[in-house]
Symmetry: C2
Subunit: 195 residues, 2 copies
């Protein structure tokens, strides 16, 4: 016998997982609720019992994707030694994670359009941009990069990496990944305070 809590959780996870598959493969607008509930083995009643609507379901999917990417970035950063190495490793991990076209479609293409840029930005802030700002603040504090306002710099770097990830998602040539990472590395290095 399955408890109601178990069943509830199971249904919700299935809906998120299946809609994530479909959103990633075909894009938000091209996926219908009918298709989602069919693939999930439930009905629209179940969907609307768990979520407020299609956009709310997408929000749950986006949250999951962002958490996974953030986890990969943190893991890569912690593997490196000094602060500057952790910073660069984290940036490279983010861009590499974004190389997956399905992640990008959800995180960077449909995300802002579906939820609105404000909501999307708030979620991105919690998931990744906050870590980036923290890392930059540390690097400013210990003099690795020159003293300057970190908020606008965070946005510039975040945008640069988002765009880099988007590009990588579209190109099949593996050489582009290394070329882009090299360019990013040069850009980051140029920020470093000259000794």
């Amino acid at each position: 016998m399955v408890t109601r809590a178990e069943q509830r959780e199971r249904t919700r996870r299935t809906l998120v997982a299946e809609s994530r598959r479909l959103f990633a493969a075909k894009g938000y607008a091209a996926v219908g609720l009918a298709e989602i509930v069919r693939e999930s083995g439930v009905t629209k009643g179940a969907l609307y019992h768990h979520f407020e609507g299609k956009a709310d379901l997408f929000r749950a999917v986006l949250e999951q994707v962002q958490q996974e990417v953030a986890a990969r970035v943190v893991a890569a950063a912690e593997a490196a030694g000094d602060p500057w190495g952790r910073f660069k490793a984290g940036c490279a991990a983010f861009v590499t994670a974004g190389a997956d076209p399905e992640i990008q479609r959800i995180m960077l293409i449909d995300g802002p359009a579906v939820l609105g840029w404000n909501d999307w930005r708030a979620m991105d802030e919690d998931a990744s941009a906050e870590h980036l700002a923290e890392a930059l603040a540390d690097l400013v504090a210990n003099g690795t990069i020159p003293d300057q306002p970190i908020a606008p710099l965070t946005r510039l770097l975040s945008g640069a990496m988002n765009e880099a990830a988007l590009w990588l998602a579209q190109t099949a040539t593996p050489g582009d990944l290394t070329a882009t990472l090299a360019a990013l590395s040069r850009l980051l290095e140029s920020l470093r305070a000259p000794f």
Copy 2:
């Protein structure tokens, strides 16, 4: 008496202008064709006589917006003297132009989601990224910035400026514009070859 060519052109311009207004104000998904043709004083028959559908109409709007932004960037760049000054002036002009929320909604939020990232990227390439790449190539050629592949660098800078523009579109505080432009200026200066 109006010729057919005049009338045709007039109807088309009205459709583009009105849908641009609505897309900018409410977003692509929230605007219906019924509303567009009502505000334009025509019917859906006219719309589908001029465009293949809603997305095609949006494409025409995006093209117009991009051309306007590109014109502002070129004008600002030509006003400056030396190559480095033209480069920085152009970048600043792009970010400033993007501060208009209505331009951003069309160019950066809905654009990729509606047309797909590939098509959007191709249009952006023609409208602005090409100029950016050209400017960077010149700066590399005359030794202002160190020799390096310009394609990935172009993407990074393009993404950084897009994000900066998006941010500015949401904040009402005018100080953010100068702060962001300052951060961008520092970033660009750090690219410069040390003498």
